[in-house]
């Protein structure tokens, strides 16, 4: 509600209606460009369409597998989208199949949406496999619609993305046109009805049930649908259906939420003279860190990754990434990590500038429980920092733990889990009471006679692993050597009963 200065009653009404009219006119003056990517699934999986062998991308919903996209070569064999995957195999036994990955598609779409922000500040990914751009304002910059359209098309072609583009006064209509590969440009809302009327209903993004009902009454195209009275349609398909049509035709406003602007932090420090001392460089990282923390606090954000760049006169820039397993804006924690990382990095040359760039943020959680909560230890925060420090110094892949698996075969009864493994912090259990503490990675063949060993007669026969080419057939027993060591020995039945030492008991 706009604040209105005290006016005469009629003047008040007039200004309100002017305001409202302006809003309405503003709405009518929006123009939406929709880019539809029919092969988004293919692009996201980085499949080369150039291959002559036919392929399909399929969706797996529970037990059913249906084809989402069929390559040109596949289509020539009669394979179509919507078909059952097993039918495709019948038509082409050698067809290559890829499972659709909607997460990758979303990620790719987001990237594309980011790219699209160069054309407008109002970009939306409301509809699947498409980007909506409000372009009324952009036309001034690009002088005219067709030029803008051409620009976008060219850039997409350079990126090798197949797309179809449509422009109309409503987002929904633009989406429908682009999905139907109708590359229309309609500026006047009054022309929408006529254009949409020619389209088949299958492009109208209606739910399956409504579509079936409309087909049952013989309505196949848009114009047949528009002929029916809105009140009758509302009665049969619900108010939501009518709302949809109103938004489609621009009678009512469609709510579009634009993608948020990206936050990013960038700061740098230029030294007065080239610095070789690591301590001094670190001192200045402190300053950058301080600014970053202030930035984060102001926006109520945290981050997990800091990107430092060291600039040298003679050499390439040196990038140093400092990361944390938990989202954090604690200066002390970051300082320690930075220190560890910098000390483990080899600096060959002096630096004249250092910059800090952070572009991934998360909303700061005050009750944030760190992922190391499953470890029941005292001073768990110390342990977490210790782990972080180890990780920073040695790298993530260097931190592993042992876990047991349910496998009779000794060499497969343990598994190493790295720090990044979700089960890293799972509770451990021992699989068998008769396993030695020290299991040799490679069993030691016994070339001499084993008569000198005192053998227990409690044999453990393990015959397992036929399904994964690691089949073992062994008789294990515990033996005591002359010097009273307890050995875990086996006779390899596959190998003519040859004896091996596999481990030592404590």
């Amino acid at each position: 509600m706009t604040n209105i200065a005290p006016l005469q009653q009629d003047q008040k009404q007039l200004s309100f209606s002017i305001e409202r009219k302006e809003k309405t006119e503003n709405f009518h003056r929006t123009l939406w460009l929709c880019i539809y990517f029919p092969k988004l699934a293919v692009h996201s999986l980085e499949i080369s369409e150039g291959q002559s062998n036919p392929f399909v991308v399929f969706e797996a919903e529970t037990q059913k597998r249906t084809i989402h996209y069929a390559s040109t070569a596949a289509q020539q064999l009669g394979i179509e989208a919507g078909m059952d995957l097993s039918q495709a195999y019948i038509l082409c036994e050698q067809i290559r199949t890829y499972q659709r990955d909607q997460k990758k598609e979303q990620a790719l779409l987001k990237l594309l949406a980011d790219w699209a922000t160069q054309f407008s500040s109002c970009v939306s990914v409301k509809y699947s496999s498409s980007i909506l751009i409000e372009i009324r304002g952009s036309i001034k910059l690009f002088k005219e619609i067709y030029r803008l359209q051409k620009n976008i098309t060219r850039q997409l072609q350079e990126k090798n993305y197949l797309s179809s583009i449509a422009i109309s006064p409503t987002p929904l209509a633009s989406f429908i046109f682009s999905k139907a590969s109708k590359n229309v440009v309609i500026e006047d809302k009054n022309l929408l009805r006529a254009e949409l009327g020619q389209l088949e209903l299958q492009y109208f993004s209606l739910d399956h049930k409504s579509l079936e009902k409309l087909h049952n009454i013989g309505v196949q195209k848009g114009y047949e649908l528009f002929r029916l009275s809105p009140a009758s349609l509302a009665r049969r398909f619900g108010n939501g259906f009518c709302r949809y049509l109103n938004e489609l035709l621009g009678i009512t406003h469609e709510n579009i939420v634009s993608i948020p602007a990206r936050n990013s932090f960038y700061d740098f420090y230029e030294f007065q003279k080239d610095q070789e001392s690591l301590e001094i460089i670190l001192m200045h990282t402190d300053i950058l860190l301080k600014n970053l923390v202030r930035f984060l606090i102001q926006r109520d954000l945290s981050t997990r990754e800091l990107n430092f760049t060291i600039y040298s006169s003679n050499e390439e820039e040196l990038s140093i990434v400092v990361s944390s397993n938990i989202q954090c804006r604690d200066k002390k924690i970051w300082k320690n990590l930075i220190k560890e990382k910098f000390y483990s990095t080899l600096f060959k040359n002096s630096a004249y500038k250092i910059s800090l760039h952070v572009n991934t943020f998360e909303t700061h959680s005050y009750n944030n429980e760190d992922v190391l909560q499953n470890i029941r230890r005292k001073n768990s925060s110390d342990w977490n920092s210790t782990l972080d420090q180890l990780k920073a110094r040695l790298g993530e892949k260097s931190i592993t733990t042992l876990d047991s698996t349910e496998d009779y075969r000794p060499e497969y009864s343990f598994i190493k889990r790295t720090y990044t493994d979700k089960q890293f912090f799972k509770k451990k259990f021992l699989s068998s009471p008769h396993r030695p503490v020290w299991l040799l990675e490679t069993p030691l063949r016994i070339n001499n006679s084993i008569d000198n060993l005192q053998k227990s007669h409690n044999i453990e026969r393990i015959v397992d692993g036929w399904w994964d080419s690691n089949f073992i057939q062994r008789d294990y027993f515990i033996a005591k050597s002359k010097d009273h060591n307890l050995l875990w020995i086996y006779a390899d039945i596959k190998n003519q009963g040859q004896y091996f030492v596999h481990g030592y008991f404590a």
């Binding site: 597998r65 097993s86 002929r227 044999i459 453990e460 397992d464």
Partner: protein, 1025 residues
């Protein structure tokens, strides 16, 4: 050293412990005998399902079978019980029954309380002991089983054997429970371990790799050689097994049961009462008097029945048939029972001995020493009444259905094994779906090649091996279609009973073969759709006629009916409506009842493989030229022109020509049946040849007869069975000829049944001038009906609409009975129809009288305003919606979608111009193409058949607006164009036309799939073996 070793395996499960045991009972018995075991106990988990098969197998070897069962009781208590004697066996049966009835199908529940309450005094109990067992269980079990308790010590070399032996010694000393060795055997050889892992994975619904410790750690759970056992077990433990085996002295041969003594009047004995009923029946059947031969036959049969003590069995079947008749349920005995005059007099069968040369020994013979097997067909819709009558009359303690063992078939084997091995789901799907219903029982490497999979891949080889191994493995028990076992005593002491899937149904754990093997009497209460259809037809006719028509009123020998049959106008007619039958009819041209008997029997693999068909047809053209070696042979083969077609003829030939006794002849018949699978005809060959030679028959004749016998195999028909069916075939043909509308109406109201879908039945009716009126909201009921005003018309009922329930129809009918409907609102409000019910009727075009064409009706029904208490009249008004009327093609497509057929033009008729441009014939114009000329035909695929005797040939039936085309596709073309053949809905076939006796076939050279021309059309093909 090995010779002196003795051992009896006391704990062994077969694959009837479903998805646990990895060997068949026969394999276990065979292997145990081979290893020199003294005895083997089959102790499946809470089950006796596999013991009969083991029992039969032990007869071949010098090994004793001990009957037992294992149980997993609450709190980790594992017990095996072994029957010492028949009392122990009965106790175990009861215990298994209680445990099974206590739980849902396929599971059991046994608690310590149940053990305690059900005294087991005649069994040995093995407490299967491991290092985690609770020692206090020993006290509990000792109280229950006293001196018959043992600890069962299994030493599978799992690293704990020493500990277990130590504990066993402790228990023996302090609890006085001796120990004995046992193997906890899951497979007969170690090589079955992979299969055991696979079935475990299936059981736990995971993969083999992810089974973890649910897998057995090694392959020691098998039947070990005696030397190995001697090395592993202390001698006393092995000796104890022999002691126990010696003390268990029960055999399944001892299982005898008392057939229920029927409710017989006090003054009569069972045989006297039976004789009385038979003589009463005789008067009814032959009111003019009985021939001497019939009298003699009756006397002979009754004497044998008395001697074998089967009187009560016959009386029971008689009672069931009487019950059915009292309720107006049509029924008829079939099979070998139709050889019995007694059954005819009792009204169980309807084959008149005057019309046939019966062979009672085919039904019962002293030498065979097997119980009779009477199969009775009842109307399929009312069979449940008969079943409930049996349960009510005899009680659930005395009557139960036999089981059927559901085994793995190729498709299910591929799916389950593939999943267990972790194959990708779509690959499994692909492998399974490409198995056709005729594909071989063994999956070969070529099959993988066909699918483009590497045949030599080790992983896939493993997969193939396991799939082939698991085929025919039992998966679970299901109920037999209608085989009842009824006992005087408590049935659960004879054989364990468990719950079936259907509510209020119980089954015994033995199947039909088990019952036969043990000589237990079974009554088959079967369902036959045609009986339902006949009864309904008679009811409809009676309704619109002035008289009540019964089967007895139908005149026999109507030449017009036989003429129609000879022209193969037999769609819907019992037994002679299939493609193969219709091809034979114009050649054989049945003219009387016996011709029909032959017609039904001759189109079967037996006569075809025995090369009897052509000789018979040839002789039929010139019957005067048929010669016989002598009068005796003529007497046997005269009715079939010298060609043996029936099992009884083979038996009679053996008796007359080779001097077999009737019992021996029956054994020959049984060997014929099993010959293909098991061999065994050889011993009869020489006897037959020698016998014929001794009686002066030529070598050539003798060899020819034996060759025909071999060809019969298991597919030869008993004449009595064919005769029973011929009666129904004639009746249905008569009804079709004279009352086509009523007959078709009855067929439609008895679906599912028969060879053809409703679409074909309706097309056929229309061709015969029957008018078919569509489903109409103002006139239709649930069932189709023949209006009294026009008996050559059928008004389709709501039941033909897919998804329309009887409840919906009843609501409509009830409301309409008061006042007819004026509008859609009136319909909705008075019939209380839901939105979905209304929409269904609209799409089926049933609302036309109230709302116009189906689109408008659908539109209106979507917007119906129901009357509310406060607003009885509609408050919403709207204008007329602009909806286009559907075009003819759209109507037809919509009809197919909702009903599976159309009353409009045939879908192919819309494409006729397009087809004509490609020079494609109609079905009718194909008859104008000269013999051996090329031609093309196209139509909807309504049937595919691959008979077992046809060596890979597939018969395809196409339908267009003028009729049907029968096409033959040879194996080479099947392989080359498999996709088009199997997947097409609308197929074009180019090939050579072959005419023979007005029967036309198109021998396919090329197939083209035109399904996309009719894409939205939803049709279904009926595919058969």
């Amino acid at each position: 050293m090995t010779q002196s070793l003795k051992y009896a395996e006391l704990h062994c499960i077969s694959n009837y412990s479903f998805l646990r045991g990895a060997s068949h009972p026969e394999e276990l018995v065979q292997h145990a005998a081979k290893l020199g075991y003294e005895a083997i106990a089959i102790t499946d988990e809470c089950s006796f399902a596999g013991v009969v098969k083991a029992h039969i197998e032990t007869k071949k070897y010098a090994i004793k079978l001990i009957i037992g069962s294992e149980f997993f009781i609450e709190d980790n208590l594992h017990l095996v019980l072994l029957a010492k004697n028949i009392a122990g066996y009965a106790e175990l049966c009861s215990l298994i029954t209680i445990s099974r009835r206590n739980s849902q199908k396929g599971q059991y529940n046994i608690t310590r309380k149940i053990l305690h309450e059900n005294k087991i005094e005649n069994c040995y109990a093995l407490w299967i002991f491991n290092d985690r067992s609770n020692l206090l269980d020993g006290v509990f079990l000792k109280n229950l089983f006293g001196n018959y308790l043992r600890t069962g010590i299994c030493l599978p070399l799992a690293g704990k054997d020493k500990k277990i032996l130590k504990l066993a010694k402790y228990i023996s000393t302090y609890f006085s429970i001796p120990a004995c060795a046992c193997g906890n055997v899951h497979m007969h050889t170690q090589s079955r371990k992979p299969l055991q892992d696979v079935i475990s994975a299936i059981r736990f619904n995971t993969t083999v790799a992810q089974l973890g410790f649910k897998r057995l750690s090694n392959n020691e759970y098998y039947l070990r050689p005696l030397a190995t056992l001697n090395r592993i077990y202390p001698q006393p433990l092995l000796e104890e097994t022999i002691k126990i085996a010696a003390a268990c002295d029960f055999s399944l041969d001892e299982v005898k049961y008392q057939y229920p003594v029927e409710f017989i009047p006090k003054q009569y004995t069972p045989i006297e009462w039976l004789s009385k009923l038979v003589h009463q029946g005789m008067q009814t059947r032959w009111p003019q008097g009985v021939k001497a031969k019939i009298h003699a036959d009756i006397g002979k049969e009754l004497a044998l029945i008395k001697e074998m003590q089967y009187e009560s069995y016959f009386l029971t079947v008689y009672d069931i048939v009487c019950f059915a008749r009292s309720r107006g349920i049509l029924c008829q005995g079939r099979g070998s029972a139709a050889n019995s005059v007694v059954c005819y007099c009792l009204g169980i069968t309807n084959v008149n001995p005057n019309d046939m040369d019966l062979l009672f020994e085919r039904f019962i013979s002293k030498e065979r020493n097997e119980p009779p097997d009477i199969d009775v067909d009842f109307e399929h819709e009312r069979r449940e009444e008969v079943i409930q009558h049996i349960y009510e009359k005899y009680g659930r303690e005395h009557a139960a259905l036999a089981a059927t063992v559901i085994t793995y078939r190729p498709k299910s084997a591929i799916r389950d094994v593939g999943k267990a091995l972790g194959l990708p789901a779509d690959q499994i799907d692909r492998l399974a779906k490409s198995i056709r219903w005729w594909d071989h029982k063994k999956i070969t490497g070529e099959y993988l090649q066909e699918l483009g999979l590497p045949e030599n891949n080790l992983y896939l080889k493993q997969f193939l091996y396991l799939v082939n191994l698991i085929i025919h493995f039992p998966r679970h028990l299901s109920q037999h279609v209608g085989g009842f076992i009824i006992s005087q005593d408590n049935l659960s002491r004879l054989v364990p009973i468990e719950n079936a899937a259907m509510p209020d149904r119980t089954i015994i754990q033995w199947d039909k073969e088990d019952l036969e093997a043990l000589g237990l009497l079974k009554i088959d209460v079967l369902a036959l759709g045609m009986l339902t259809a006949i009864r309904k037809t008679l009811a409809y006719i009676s309704k619109y006629s002035e008289y009540t028509l019964t089967i007895a009123d139908i005149p026999t020998g109507d030449t017009q009916v036989y003429d129609a049959i000879s022209k193969a106008d037999t769609i819907g007619v019992f037994q002679i409506e299939s493609r193969a039958q219709m091809s034979m009819l114009p050649r054989l041209r049945p003219q009387n009842y016996y011709d029909l008997v032959i017609q039904i029997a001759i189109v079967r693999p037996g006569p075809i493989q025995g090369e009897m068909v052509h000789p018979y047809l040839t002789r039929r053209k010139n019957p005067a030229k048929v010669t016989y070696p002598n009068k005796q042979i003529k007497k046997v083969l005269n009715r079939t022109l010298g060609v043996p077609i029936f099992q009884e003829q083979v038996m009679k030939l053996a008796i007359i020509a080779a001097g077999f006794t009737p019992g021996e002849a029956d054994q020959l018949r049984r060997s014929m049946a099993a010959w293909n699978r098991k061999g065994g005809l050889e011993k009869f060959e020489q006897k037959l040849l020698d016998g014929m030679h001794a009686r002066g028959y030529s070598e050539e004749f003798a060899h020819r007869v034996f060759k025909q016998i071999k060809g019969f195999g298991e597919y030869g028909f008993p004449e009595s069975h064919s005769a029973s069916f011929a009666l129904l075939a004639y009746i249905s043909a008569w009804l079709k000829y004279y009352h086509h509308a009523a007959f078709t109406c009855a067929l439609l109201n008895s679906q599912p049944m028969g060879f053809y879908a409703p679409a074909q039945l309706i097309q056929d009716a229309k061709k015969h001038g029957v008018k078919i009126l569509p489903v109409d909201i103002l006139h239709s009921e649930y069932d189709c009906k023949v209006p009294a005003s026009d008996t050559s018309t059928i008004r389709l009922g709501f039941r033909v609409i897919k998804g329309c329930s009887k409840n919906t129809a009843d609501k409509i009918y009830a409301a309409r009975e008061q006042v007819s409907f004026k509008s859609l609102e009136d319909l909705v409000n008075r019939a209380s129809l839901s939105g979905s019910e209304l929409e269904l009727l609209a799409t089926a075009n049933a609302l036309k009288p109230l709302a116009g064409h189906r689109r408008r009706a659908y539109w209106e029904s979507m917007g119906i305003e129901r009357a509310m208490p406060l607003f009885p009249t509609p408050t919403f008004t709207e204008g007329v919606a602009m909806l286009t009327k559907p075009a003819c093609t759209q109507e037809v497509l919509a009809d197919y979608k909702v009903n599976g057929f159309t009353l409009g033009p045939h879908p192919v008729s819309f494409l006729r111009k397009r087809l004509a441009k490609k020079h494609i014939h109609t079905a009718s114009s194909l008859h104008t193409v000269p013999n051996n000329m090329m031609a093309k035909a196209a139509g909807l695929v309504i049937g595919r058949q691959r008979p077992g005797t046809a060596s890979g040939v597939i018969f395809v039936t196409l339908e267009d607006e003028t009729g049907h085309v029968n096409a033959i596709v040879w194996p080479g073309l099947v392989q080359a164009q498999r996709k088009a053949l199997l997947k097409s809905k609308f197929l074009c076939i180019s090939g050579i036309v072959q005419h023979e006796s007005s029967v036309l076939h198109l021998i396919a050279h090329r197939l083209k799939d035109y399904s996309h021309w009719l894409d939205p059309l939803q049709t279904k093909s009926r595919d058969f073996h």
